[in-house]
């Protein structure tokens, strides 16, 4: 399979701080890649660099063969890169349907009016929000807002979907629902990069996992290999635990 997204030596500096440091990573078409790491590891920053919110301080980002390092966010969106937000950001003054229609229109290429609305309704049905289509987006519960984010992401007709902590704040049942949705999306052929804290989600969903720590990529590979990688264990649980584990399994 060919690589859809290629990051080469991507670095992002804020003042003196390197939030993302020399990350080289490929995401193959059709795969579900998990991106994990302790808090502050730079995961969201990396997503921001990919989508063009923050330009990379160094390195290159290639998408479907095209260099998109300096591309503005709206153009990246139109190229087929969609993302959801950790802290959901709907358009509060508009209805749920209008929110999704906006995504369909501006990134998805649907024409203004009925086409966009019909498409939006389809996506809302897919995520199970069809009944609340005419409600104000601000009036939704957290779980519903997360599903709205999914719907918006899908309406953008993405080739690559970047999911940022879609499960934060959800209970166990809601997490299972979200998981099912992501599987359904991946089944449609969308390449997914998912930032996640919940190990059960990452392990059951992802074909590969990448681990960030202090902005650096410290491991990439199959889930089983990753969770036994001493560097990863050290990053999450500290040196001493890692050493003690190494002693146990050693």
């Amino acid at each position: 399979m060919s690589a859809l997204l290629e990051l080469s030596g991507v670095t992002r500096r804020f003042g003196g701080l390197r939030a993302v440091s020399d990350v080289t990573l490929s995401v193959a078409q059709g795969e579900v890649l998990g991106l994990i790491g302790p808090n502050g590891a730079g995961k969201t920053t990396l997503v921001n660099v990919i989508t063009g919110v923050h330009p990379a301080s160094a390195g290159r980002v290639r998408f479907a063969g095209e260099d998109i390092t300096r591309l503005r966010p709206y153009l990246a969106a139109r190229r087929g890169i969609a993302r959801t937000f950790q802290i959901v950001q709907p358009f509060p003054g508009m209805t749920v349907l209008e929110n999704v229609a906006a995504a369909a229109m501006f990134a998805g290429g649907a024409s203004y009016g009925k086409r966009a609305r019909d498409e939006a309704m389809q996506h809302l049905r897919f995520v199970g929000l069809a009944e609340v289509a005419e409600r104000s987006a601000a009036a939704l519960t957290l779980a519903m807002r997360k599903r709205l984010e999914f719907a918006k992401g899908l309406a953008m007709r993405p080739k690559l979907l970047l999911l940022d902590e879609v499960n934060a704040g959800l209970n166990a049942a809601e997490v299972d629902q979200a998981l099912a949705l992501v599987r359904a999306i991946a089944a449609r052929g969308v390449t997914v990069l998912i930032i996640e804290h919940l190990m059960k989600v990452v392990l059951s969903l992802c074909s590969r996992i990448a681990v960030l720590h202090h902005g650096e990529l410290i491991a990439v590979g199959a889930p089983r290999t990753i969770i036994e990688d001493p560097q990863v264990i050290q990053a999450y649980l500290g040196k001493r635990y890692a050493k003690s584990q190494a002693g146990v399994h050693g």
Binding site: P73, P90, A102, F106, A107, M156
Partner: protein
């Protein structure tokens, strides 16, 4: 949209009957009201739809007035002078928008306010072209009678107001209008969803400038004498904002209602309390902001409670 369009046609048709009264006073008032309507509706593009607090109306108005005036001084016929003023305002708005629209909030407001001041000073200093501080006399339009002249300008403003309204209606119901709403709600989210925010904002800014520019030119021809502090008056910007606030930003007719209400109040105060008229205007603004920030239309919503469909 169709319903709004028909109501507008009716409204403008009614207003068009005003000259039948034969009263010069009412026609003058009507012309001013229509001009105010243009200013309010124009501000709505950038301030209401896009959510950028622009104080640039005075800049566009003065620019349009002087462009039209200078063009006429050099012999250009009135209609062409007005069109030229509109085009120049359009171009100026494009350049200004590209420069200023990356500022947000207070900074954008101040920058847009300051532009009018800078333009005024520039016009003041170009005495050769504009007459500077001594003002500019326009050629008096050659018309059969004072009454016909008054009617002519009334209908000119009416046409301009109708065109502005049509532009507003079409924009609100178009992709541009929808995109502007998204920008107003959450600009960075809109950007991420594929909205070309720069293009849309600048377009809204251009729309907020072109009709105001033509209004300025028509005004100049109507009063046939203008001076810099007269047409570059920051009060034009403030009045436009107040009128939209007064009428309510939600509906298509808000700006027009606000303009009518504002003008009535202004005229009442001017006739009866000349000495305190700016003070009363200030008081009106204060009361409006404190007690009726959603405008007059919100009153009607409170009175006739509507159900969610």
């Amino acid at each position: 949209m169709k319903r709004d369009a028909w109501i507008a046609v009716l409204l403008f048709a009614l207003v068009a009957l005003l000259p039948l009264s034969g009263e010069a006073y009412w026609m003058r008032l009507g012309t001013t009201m229509l001009m105010y309507g243009v200013l309010a509706m124009s501000w709505n593009f950038i301030g209401g739809m896009a959510g950028y607090p622009s104080f640039a109306v005075a800049a566009f108005f003065g620019l349009g007035a002087y462009t039209g005036a200078v063009a006429q001084k050099f012999g250009m016929p009135m209609g062409f002078a007005w069109a030229g003023a509109g085009l120049l305002a359009l171009a100026f708005a494009a350049l200004l928008g590209l420069a200023l629209l990356r500022l947000r909030g207070h900074y954008f407001a101040i920058a847009s306010l300051v532009v009018a001041e800078v333009l005024r000073e520039l016009v003041n200093s170009m005495t050769g072209l504009t007459g500077g501080g001594m003002g500019l006399n326009l050629p008096i339009p050659a018309m059969a009678s004072v009454d016909i002249q008054a009617r002519f300008f009334f209908y000119a403003m009416l046409l301009l107001a109708a065109v502005t309204f049509a532009a507003m209606l079409l924009t609100a119901n178009s992709k541009l209008g929808f995109g502007l709403r998204c920008i107003q709600q959450n600009e960075s989210a809109a950007d991420m969803l594929g909205v070309d925010t720069t293009l849309y904002k600048v377009s809204a800014f251009m729309l907020s400038g072109v009709f105001v520019g033509v209004a300025g030119a028509v005004y100049a021809s109507w009063v046939y004498y203008i001076e810099p502090p007269d047409v570059f008056d920051v009060l034009y910007s403030v009045k436009a904002i107040v009128m939209v606030l007064l009428g309510g930003a939600g509906s298509m007719f808000g700006p027009l209602i606000g303009a009518a209400a504002f003008l009535s109040l202004e005229e009442l105060v001017w006739r009866n309390y000349l000495q305190v008229h700016t003070g009363v205007l200030g008081l009106m603004i204060v009361l409006l902001v404190l007690f009726l920030p959603k405008g007059l239309l919100s009153l009607s919503q409170r009175i006739g409670r509507r159900k969610m469909p």
